[in-house]
C-alpha cells in the first residue's frame, strides 16, 4: 500500500483478494491447478481467479503479484540470509500457467499480469527491480519515482511492524501485570490467513488467552537486553538477534524468525504455551520441528504442534487438541509462569510499578533496512 499509493494509485483503486477459503478455490480455481504442492501456494489459484472473475464494473486492470526472492527481517544482519521459500517465490509463474494454458484468461479480460522479481531483503536493489518490472505496466514511470515509492513502502512497512510489535509488548506487559499466561504462535506469516492457518489460535483465544505471533514480537532494546543479555554475556550468541547457537544454516527469513521466536518464548515467563503450525508438504519447516520443540520444551513451556495443515480444517481433531491444550493450560500455566520467572534475570522491563500502569510506548525498531 505504501509503495503503490506513493506511485499515485489511490487506496480505493487497490484491491486485495479476500482471505483464503475452500469456497474461493472451488469457485475460482477449478481446473486452474498446475502444481501439486503445499496448500499456501496452491491456494493462490483461487486468489487469482477471484481477482480475474470480478464483475465488469469492478474489473481490475493490473494483477500485481511480485516474485519475492528475499524478505525484510528484523534478524536481518544477524543471520546468513533472509530468503523467501523458493516455492513461494516461484508461485506467481506457476500459478499463472493455469490461467493461460488453454486461453489467456488475463488477456481476455484486458488484465495485465505483472510479476516483478524483488529482493525485499536487499532494499538498495529493490527500486531497480520494481522499475524494470513495472515500467511497461505504468506508462511514464521513472526510476526516481520508483525509488521514492520504494522508500515510502519500506517506511509504511516499518510503521506497520512497529504498531504490531508495540501491541505485542502491551499484551506481554498486561500478562506480567496480571500474572496471566499468553500463547505464542510459531508459524509462517501465511498461517495468519484464516483459510491457511484455519484460525486454530482463535479457538484457543476464545478460552481466554491472548495470542502473540513470532513475526511481531517486541524487539525493543531494553527487552532484548533483559531476555538475551545473559546469553550474549556468556558468549553463546553475538547479539540478542543471533540464532547461530541453535540454527547455523540461517538462510530462510521465515525459518529464522520461527527459531528466534522459540528462543524468545523459552525466556519469556508469561508465554506459557507455544503453538506450532505447519502446512502439509512444507520442506522448509521439516528440519525445524525438533529444534523448535526442544528449545521451547526445555524451558518448561508447553508445546503443541499442528502439522500438515491443508485446505480443509481438520475440525474434529483440532477441537480435541484445543480442549486438551486448554485443560493443561488451565492446570499448569500458573506453575509454568512461576518456574520461568524464577529462572529469569531480575529487572524485567515488562514489569512496572503499579503506579505507572500506563503501558510505555516502545520506540519502533522494525525494519532497519528501510532507513
Amino acid at each position: 500500500m505504501g509503495f503503490l499509493t506513493a506511485l499515485g494509485f489511490e487506496p480505493q483503486k487497490i484491491a486485495f483478494s479476500s482471505d483464503t477459503s475452500e469456497q474461493q478455490g472451488r469457485e475460482h480455481a477449478k481446473g486452474r491447478g498446475t502444481v501439486d504442492c503445499c496448500y499456501p501456494v496452491k491456494c493462490i489459484s483461487g486468489h487469482y481467479g477471484e481477482l480475474v472473475n470480478r464483475e465488469k464494473h469492478r474489473q481490475i486492470d493490473i494483477l500485481f503479484a511480485p516474485m519475492i526472492r528475499s524478505l525484510p527481517s528484523h534478524l536481518g544482519t544477524h543471520v546468513v540470509a533472509s530468503l523467501a521459500c523458493p516455492r513461494v517465490m516461484a508461485a506467481p509463474e506457476n500459478i499463472k500457467a493455469g490461467f493461460i494454458k488453454e486461453r489467456d484468461a488475463f488477456a481476455e479480460r484486458g488484465i495485465r499480469y505483472v510479476t516483478p522479481y524483488v529482493s525485499l531483503g536487499d532494499p538498495p536493489i529493490v527500486p531497480k527491480q520494481l522499475f524494470e518490472g513495472l515500467k511497461d505496466a505504468i506508462p511514464g514511470l521513472t526510476p526516481i519515482e520508483t525509488r521514492e515509492a520504494v522508500r515510502a513502502g519500506f517506511a509504511a512497512l516499518a510503521a506497520f511492524d512497529g504498531r504490531a510489535r508495540a501491541r505485542s509488548r502491551e499484551i506481554l506487559e498486561h500478562c506480567a501485570a496480571t500474572e496471566s499466561p499468553c500463547l505464542l504462535v510459531l508459524a509462517r506469516p501465511y498461517h495468519m490467513d484464516p483459510g491457511v492457518g484455519h484460525e486454530i489460535e482463535v479457538d484457543l483465544q476464545s478460552y481466554g488467552y491472548p495470542i502473540l505471533w513470532a513475526q511481531y514480537l517486541p524487539i525493543d532494546d531494553d527487552l532484548l537486553a533483559w531476555t538475551f543479555g545473559p546469553d550474549v554475556h556468556d558468549g553463546f550468541i553475538r547479539s540478542p538477534l543471533d540464532i547461530a547457537d541453535v540454527w547455523p544454516s540461517s538462510y530462510s527469513a521465515n525459518t529464522n524468525e520461527i527459531l528466534w521466536g522459540a528462543k524468545f518464548a523459552a525466556r519469556m515467563p508469561w508465554i506459557a504455551c507455544v503453538i506450532r503450525m505447519s502446512s502439509y508438504e512444507c520442506g522448509m519447516d521439516q528440519p525445524t520441528y525438533t529444534p523448535v520443540q526442544q528449545i521451547v520444551e526445555r524451558s518448561g513451556t508447553l508445546f503443541f504442534s499442528f502439522q500438515d495443515l491443508d485446505s480443509t480444517k481438520p475440525a474434529g481433531s483440532v477441537k480435541i487438541r484445543v480442549e486438551t491444550i486448554a485443560h493443561y493450560l488451565e492446570k499448569h500455566a500458573g506453575g509454568i509462569i512461576a518456574k520461568k520467572k524464577a529462572a529469569s534475570p531480575p529487572g524485567c522491563p515488562l514489569i512496572h510499578d503499579s503506579a505507572s500502569a500506563v503501558p510505555q510506548q516502545p520506540k519502533s525498531k522494525a525494519a532497519p533496512q528501510a532507513a
Binding site: P11, G25, S317
Partner: protein
Amino acid sequence: MKTVGLDVGSTTVKAVVVENGEVLWRDYRRHHTRQAEMALEFLGRMEADCGLAPGRDRIFVTGSGGGVLAPMIGAKFVQEVVAVAAAVEKLHPDVRFVSEIGGEDMKTVFFTPTQGGGRQIYASSMRSGAGGTLVGKTTRKLLEISRTKFVPDAEGEPIPPPAPKPDGSSKQVFMQSACSGGTGTFIEKTARKLGIPLEDLAGMRYGGHALHRISSKCGIFAETDANTLVKSGVPVEEIIASLYEAVVYQNLATLTKGNTPAPKVLLLGGPNLFFAGLQEAWRHHLRKVWTERGIALPGSGEPEEHIVVPDDALYYAGLGCVEVGAKDSLGVGVYAGRERLRAWVEEGQHAQKAKEGSRGLAGDAAELESFLRRYARPSGATGKGASASPAVASETIFLGCDFGSTTVKAVVLAGAGELVYSCYALSRGNPIEDAKAVLRDIRAAGYTRIGSLGITGYGKDLLKDIVGADVGVVETVAHATAALHYFPDADVICDVGGCDVKIMLLRQGTVSDFRLNSQCSSGNGAFLQGVAERYAIPLEEYAERAFKARAIPTLAMGCGVFLQSDIVNQQRKGWAAEEIMASLAAVLPLNVWVYAGQLQNLAAAGRKFVLQGGTHRNLAVVKAQVDFIGSKVPNAEIVVHPQPGEAGAIGAALCALDWSRRAEKPSRFRGFDAVEALVHRSTTNEHTTCNWCAVNCRRTFIDVQLSGAKGRSWSKVPVEEGWERVISGNSCPKGLLEDANEMRIVKAQLEEAKRVHPNVAELVREDAFRRARSA
C-alpha cells in the same frame, strides 16, 4: 483367431474375448487380492466357454496386476491408460474427455484435436498413493519416443508406445501419480461403514441432497470427515451425495491440470458405471464448468446428452488391449496356456516372496508361547463384565461412557474406583441411539443407582446435556487418568484407537506432553480394520491369522495412503492375507511412534509403557509393539491396560467419581427411563446453514424430546415446546446459536473476550488489508 483383453485390476479382474470384432465372452469378478488365482480361473473359463486355445489365440493384459502375469501366459502387457485410450479412440472418436475411476486409482484422459485432424491425448492418472507418489508427486516428466510422448508409470511399469496413427497426428500421454482419494474402494468402504449395502449404494442419488464438506485431498481425511458427519447426525444419503461431490471435485481440481474437460465426455470404470449418484455429480459439475467457461456443445441437445456412461464401461481397458493387440504383429501375445501361471500360483509366488520377506511376526514357537503367556487374556476378558450381584446393585456406582469413532464403551465403577462392569457396542452412527444402547445394557446388568456420570469421546458435547452428564472429559485427559489409575508409575501411554493415535508422556505422574494424531490414519485401528474387512476376516481373528505367517513382506512406514498401495504391490507379489495382515501389524508401531508420534528417541520418553485403546485388543499389534519398544528401549516394561478398549470410559468414570467427591450435589443424570424415552429427529438443509460468517457451515439441528424444554417457535426450523435442540456441524462457537438476539449477546461476549485477550494476527490482518478493503 480370438483375442483376449485381460484387465487385472486392484480389486477386480475383467476380461473380454473378441473374435472378428465381436465380443464372444466377457466377465468381471472381485479377486479379493488373489489376482493371479482369479486370472487363472478366468483363463480356465475362457478355454472352456469359448475355446480359447494356446498357440493360436492371442492375449493382451493390462491393470495393476497385469505386468507380473503377462510373461507367464504369453501375453503382452499394455499400459492401462494406453489401453483405455485405444478403446475410446476406436469406439468414441468424438470423445474429448474420459474419467476412469477404478478400485484404487483414477485417471483422466484428454483428447485434443490436433491441427492435422487427429487428437492429442493428455492423460493423468492417480493411483491411490502409489509407491511412486514419493517420486512422482512433484515431477512431471515427459519422455519422447519418436512421435509419441510417454512417461513411465511411477511404479515402473513399462509403457509401450502405441503405433503412430496412420494419419500422422501425434499423441501425448502424460502420467502423474499423487496422493489420492475418491476411488471406488474408498466410496465402498465408507458406505460399508455407514451400513449401506452395495445394492442400495448403486441407487443412491446426488441431486436433491444437502452437501457437506468432505476433504477431497486424501481418502483418509475424507473418511474422517464422513465419520464426523455421522457423529453429528447427518443422514447417510447426504453423506454419500457429499462423497460423490468430493470425488468429482478431486478429479476436476487436480486431475485436469489446467485443461477443461470438453464434451463429449465418457465416464468409465466400475464406480462411474454402478453409482448413479456419481454420474449425477459429474453431470452437475461438467454442466457448470461448460456454462462458466462458455464451452459450446457440439450439435444440439442438453448438456447431459454429451456425458456418456457406456454399458460396458468396465471393459474398456480390456477392449483397448484387444485394440492395441490388433495393431501388433501376429507373433506377439500368443496365448501360452495356463501351465506357467498355475505353477506360479502354486509354487513360484511363494519362492519369490520368500526371498524378499522378513521373519514372521510370531517369531518361533517358544517366542510366541512366552509372549502369549504374558499378554494373552483369558477368552471373554474383553467382553462384558458380570451382572451385578445383589450386594453391588444396591450400591451407588459411577458411570463412564466413551463415545468413540467406531464403538461406544461404558464402564461402571464402585465407590472405591474399582471396575465392576464394562460393556461396549459398535457405534451405529447416531450418538443418541448409541447412548441408549449402552445405558440399556448397564441397567439390564443391574446397575441402577448412578452416583455420577462422566462422558468422553466424539459424542461428548452433543450428549452432555441430553443425558445429563456431570463431567465432559476430553479424550486425552480421560485416557491419561485411566492409565495412571492402574499404573501410577507409567512413563508413556500409547493409545491407539479407531481413528486416532494418542501418545501421552508422563513425568511425576502428570501428563507433561502429548501427541495426538487424528489427521493421519497410518497408525490407527481403522486402517487395520479396513484391511481385515477387505480380506473378509473378522477382527477377532486378526491376531490368530497374523501369527500364522512365517514370513512377512516389509511395508514402508508412513502415510496410510502410501501404505494402501504398498499393500497392493505386495499382493501383486503374491503375499497372502495373513502375511499382509502380519506385516501391517508389524509396521504399526513405526507409524505410531515415529511417523504419527514423531518420537525418534523412545528411550528418552521413559521405560514403562502402557498400551491402551481398542487396537491393543489385537495381540498381533501388541506383539509388534512389544518387539518394537523392546528394540528401542532395552529395559522397557510394557504393559497392556487391563481394559484397553475401555480406558477412555474408565477415565471418564474416574473423573465422574472425582466430581462427586468434590461436588456434594446430586448427579445431573436424567435417569434410564428418560434417556430411553428420548425421541429425536435431525434436520440439515438450507435453513440450518450457518450464516454468521463466510464459511457457511452446513449445520445439523438435532431435536430431542425432553420434558420442560422450551422449543424454538421462532426458528426457521421451528420446534414445538418439549423439544431441545442440539446444533452440530458448526466449526466455531458462533454456530451454536441460530437466533439473532442470542447471537448479538454471544458475539458481544466473543468480541469482548477477543478485546481482553487479543490475537496479534487479527490486528495484523486488520492493519494490512482491511484498511485498503474498506477504503
